[in-house]
Every structure is written in C-alpha cells, then in structure tokens.
Amino acid sequence: MIEEAIHEILADAGNPDAVALSALLPHARIVTGSERGRDLPYATLNLEGNLPEYRANSGDMRQCSVRFQLWHDNHEAGCEIRDALEDLFENKSFDTSTAKIVCSRHQNTFVLEEEDGVWQFNIQFDIKATRV
C-alpha cells in the first residue's frame, strides 16, 4: 500500500517537488526492493518496519519506516537528489489513490562510499498512512 502510494507521489507531475526530483533522477530509476547491476544513478525503496495497523478515527492507521537507498558515482549530484527527496517528503501529507499519507517525517540520512568509489545515500522517513 505505502510503496504504491510513494511511487504515485514520485510520478506526480502536478507536484513541483516531485518534478524537481524527476529532473535529477527519473522516476523509472527508483525501484521497490533490491536492485543490482543497474546503470548509475538509481535508487531503491524499502519498508524497514512493518508495525501492525491500529484503529484511528480516520480509518486503519499504519506506521512504518521507509528507506531510500541511492547510488551515484558523483557525490555532489547525489547530494542534490538527496535534498530533492527530503524536500519532497519532509513534513508533508499526501492523498493518493491507494493511501492517505497523514504524516511523513525525515528521520535519518547517512552517506557511505563503497569500495568501488560509488556513493550510497541512505535516506529514511517515518510515515503514517491510512488506507483509502
């Protein structure tokens, strides 16, 4: 549910932050799950925690942690994409066809250089969402 909603947000042409992100990293280069052997740059999207849903007055609420991993061979360009991603999801709420994201908060970011010189950016968000 949440992965679908996030992809919908990323592909939303009416959202200026999503358009800015797409200009730096096309939506087709962000995939769910693990992906290896792709051409750089690309990003993956994974749910870290899958906490049980609980009842709220706006429907069943689900709380989870979403981690984007971005691989880029250029550190500065990677930082730009990271900033665009944070701009898109930091303290925002979204209405999508699959879920209503009530709250999205930036939780953590770190960068590491892999042995072949490629930079890995880890960007983590805490998301609360209800089913539509």
Partner: protein, 146 residues
C-alpha cells in the same frame, strides 16, 4: 490551620536520574540481546569431498555453507564472529546507551544497509522497530511494575 510543605527536590532528582539510568541500561541490554538473537539462525557448514584441490589447501574435505540468508532476512550464523562484535555500551553517567558493531565487525554494518553488489540483510534497525514497544517500556520503567 497551618500547613507545611517539605521539598525533597534533590532526593527526587537523584531518584529520577537513577531510575532513568537503570531503565536505559535494561533497554539497551534487551535490544543488544535481541540483535544477537536476530543473527543467531544457524547456517551450519557441511563437509564435502574435495574434487579439485588447490595448492596448500585441504586435499580431502572442505566446508560449504548450503543455507545462506536470503536478501531481506537477517544474516545467518557461521562462525559467530559478527555476533561477537555486536556490542552494547552504557554511559557511566546513565545519559545514553548504544548498541552497534565494533570496528572488527564492520561488515555487519554493510550487511545491514547493503551495497551495490550485496543485497541488504537488515538486522539492527528492524530489530529495533520490531521491539520498540518493549524497549520503550524498559527505558521508561526500568522493568519495574510501578
């Protein structure tokens, strides 16, 4: 009617500080144990006959590990080196507690986040999220029922 107010601020501060330190310590230790549990599923080695030897290598048998962890699962246990290097560190003043890997077990961090060539095997953050309710309770109460 006379009333008297006694202020035990210092004692209360001391009690609160000790209670918090105890709670944090218990929560940190609990999380550390859960992390060790997460990486304790065995991938027992199997001894097989060597069909093609290498110079200086064992000529009769070698050990293979036929059941490795799948991507997305916590890493499985082979030698226990990674598990031994999961450490917990309590602040002597009781201000914080840390769980992580020591420098020798840095590869466990790469298993946690994954790399371009190695799919991730999350064991640290996922364990925290899966146990956050209990960790929160321990940190708040120190395991006491009161």
């Amino acid at each position: 009617m006379a009333s008297k107010l006694e202020w035990h601020g210092k004692e209360f501060e001391k009690h609160l500080s000790q209670a918090t330190a105890t709670g944090l310590k218990r929560a940190g230790t609990f999380y550390w144990q859960k992390c060790r549990e997460a990486v304790s599923r065995p991938n027992t080695g199997v001894s097989v006959k060597v069909t093609r030897g290498v110079p200086g290598g064992n000529k009769r048998t070698r050990t293979i590990y036929p059941n490795p962890s799948k991507p997305g699962e916590p890493p499985k246990l082979r030698t226990g080196f990674g598990r031994r290097n999961i450490v917990v560190n309590h602040d002597p003043k009781g201000k914080y507690t840390r769980v992580g890997v020591s420098a020798n077990g840095m590869y466990m961090f790469y298993l946690e986040v994954g790399t371009r060539r190695v799919a991730r095997r999350p064991w640290l953050l996922r364990t925290l999220i899966n146990n956050q309710e209990m960790i929160g309770k321990l940190a708040a109460t120190g395991g006491n029922k009161k």
